[in-house]
Symmetry: C2
Subunit: 340 residues, 2 copies
Amino acid sequence: MSTRPLPATKAPTMADVARLASVSVPTVSRVLNGNVNVSQSKRERVLDAVKELNFRPSFAARALASARPEAVAVVSGNTSQYGYAETLRGIENTCRREGLSTIISVIDSDEPAEVDRVVSQVLSQPIVGVIVLKFDPPGVAVLDRLVDKLPVVAVSGLRDTRVSQAMLDETRAAEELTGYLLDLGHATVHHVRVPPSRREDGRTTGWRRALRRAGKEVPETLDATWEPASGRAVGRRLAEDDGVTAVFCGNDEIAMGVVRGLNDAGRRVPEDVSVVGFDDHPLSELWAPSLTTVRQDFHGLGSRAVQLLGAEIEDADNVGRLSNERPAVVVRDSAAPPQA
Amino acid sequence: MSTRPLPATKAPTMADVARLASVSVPTVSRVLNGNVNVSQSKRERVLDAVKELNFRPSFAARALASARPEAVAVVSGNTSQYGYAETLRGIENTCRREGLSTIISVIDSDEPAEVDRVVSQVLSQPIVGVIVLKFDPPGVAVLDRLVDKLPVVAVSGLRDTRVSQAMLDETRAAEELTGYLLDLGHATVHHVRVPPSRREDGRTTGWRRALRRAGKEVPETLDATWEPASGRAVGRRLAEDDGVTAVFCGNDEIAMGVVRGLNDAGRRVPEDVSVVGFDDHPLSELWAPSLTTVRQDFHGLGSRAVQLLGAEIEDADNVGRLSNERPAVVVRDSAAPPQA
DNA sequence: ATGAAAGCGCTAACAT
DNA sequence: ATGTTAGCGCTTTCAT
C-alpha cells in the first residue's frame, strides 16, 4: 500500500524499448516521432513495448540531441496578482495548443543577484524564446538583459521599441475612463497610483492627458502599494479634502480599499465621491457599490504574446511587432455625477 | 537599435570557453561547479572566458550527463485562485532557496487526455520529484497516476495515505469556525460548498461534525461554483428563508457573494444573518462588513511541501509523512449573535 | 524500411 | 592540478 518499489526503479530508456521490441533504437525514435517509414508490424511492437515499460522520452536528451527546443520561458513577477495570473493562464493555454511547454521563472526583486539568477535560468534552458511580463521593475531589468540574446516578447502596458510586444493600451483606457468622470461633471479627478514599472504608468499618463485636454487642474497623485489595505489609508486621507469628488485608482483592489477608507470617514460612494478602478477584478462587480472600471483581457493578452513569439521565430524579421488592444470601460455603480 | 544580430548567433558551448581559456573542457566544468582543485591562474582565465562569451551551461546537457536533476515539478489546477497562487509562491520560494528550479504544469480538467499530457510532461523532465496540488479532481487524477513512479508530495486539505502530504487541517478549522457560530447562539449553521475535490471537502465534514456534536439540525448544503458571482445567487436564495441566521461559506469569495446577495434582498449582515468564509483572502478585511474567516497559511503550506519532498529524497523511507497545521479562526465583523 | 555510427554539451571516471 | 576517455538518452545522417 504505502510502500514504494524501493530504489525507485530506474526509468526505462529507448534502448530498453528497442530491446523488448527487437528493433533498433532509431526505429523506436521514428515511431515515437510520428511520421515516416516504419512497417506496421514493427510499429505495433514498439508501441506495445512503450506501453508495457511505461516509457517516457527524456526531455533533456531529446532537447540535447535535436537542438530543437519545444518550450517557452515566461518571466513573471508576483504571480498572485490577478492580472499576472490571468496572463500566465493565457500564455499557458496558447502554448499548449501550439505543442509548447511553458517554463515559468518567478522574479521578486530587481536586485542584480536576482536578475542574474533568472537570466541564467532562462538562458540555460532549451527554449524557443522568452515572454517577459514587464509590468514591474524586475521584469524590465530582465528584459534589458535578454534583448538581442534570443527571441523575446514583452507583455506590458507601455511601448518598448526594442522587442515585439503584446500590449493593453492602458494609456488610452485611462484617458477614456477619466474622461467619463469629467463628463459626469466632476471639476477634476484625483488619482491613486499603484507602484509604477518605470517613471510613469500608462494609467497615470492617460489620466493626466485627459485632465490636460479638458483644461482641468491636475492634482497631486497619491501612492498606494500592491496591498489593498494601503488603499484604505489613502481613502481616509482623501476624505479630509472636500475638493475630492472623483478618484481614479490604479487598480480595482486599491479602489476597494479607497471606498472602504472613504466610508470609514463617513463619505458615501458614489453620492459624495465617485471612485473608479482598473482591471475588472472578479470581485469588482460584487463590491458594494459595484465598481466602475476598465476591463482588461489579460487572458487574450497572454495569447497574443505567444502568437507574437511564434511569428518572430518563423520569420526572424518579424521583430519589434506590436499587438495592441484597447481595454473597455465598464460602467457600474461607483461613479455618479457630483452632488450639487 | 531595433535590429537583431541576425540568425541569433549560436550559443557558446563549454568547448568554446575551454578553447578561449586554453584549458580542457573538464577544467571549465570544474571551475563552474564550484569546488575542487583548479589553479588560480586557470580559474581566472576560465572565468574571464565565460564572461566574455557570455556562456551559460545547457540545462539539458547538464541534466543528461549528471543524471542529477535539479528541478521539481509542480502540478496545479487553476493558478488564478488565491490559494493556489499563494501555495505556488511558497513552493517556488522554498525551492529557490534549496537551489532547485520549479517547473509548473497546469491542468484544467480531469479528462484522460489532459491527465495523460500532464503526466507525460512531468515524467519526461529531469526532476527530483513532484508536488501535486490536489485540491481538485484533476489534481487527484494526476496524483493517482504518479504515485509509486517517483517521489510525490501531495498538498491538500484531506489525508491521502499513499504519499507524503502537506496539509492544512480544514476539517478541524471548519469545525472550530462552525462551533464559534453556534456559541454565538445560532440555532444552526447553513453551509455553502465550493466544488469539492472528492466526495466531500474537509470544510463540509468539519461543519457537519460541529453541528452533530452540538446536537443541532444539519441543514441541506447549497452549492456554489468557483465564481464569486455564484455566491450572490445563493445569498438571494438564502434570504428567502427566515430560518437562516448563520451561513458558513466554502471560501471568502463565495462569502462576499453571499453577503451581497443577502443585501440585495434587504437582509443585513451581521444583524439579520451572520456570514463567515474560509481562507482569509486579502480582500476579506476590506469587505464591508469585514469577514470573519479562517486564516490559511498557503505560503507556509508550499514550503512544507518542499521540505517533505526533500526529506523523501534524502531518505527513501521517509515516505507517507504528514505535515499538518491547523488554520486559525480570524474573528471580524460579519458574524454576531442572532437578533432577539 | 531499417540499422550502424556519430554526435548534441556536458559530467564522471580514470589517468597522469 | 589537469587532461583523456566514456558515456548520459536521444536524434540525425548515412548506408543498406
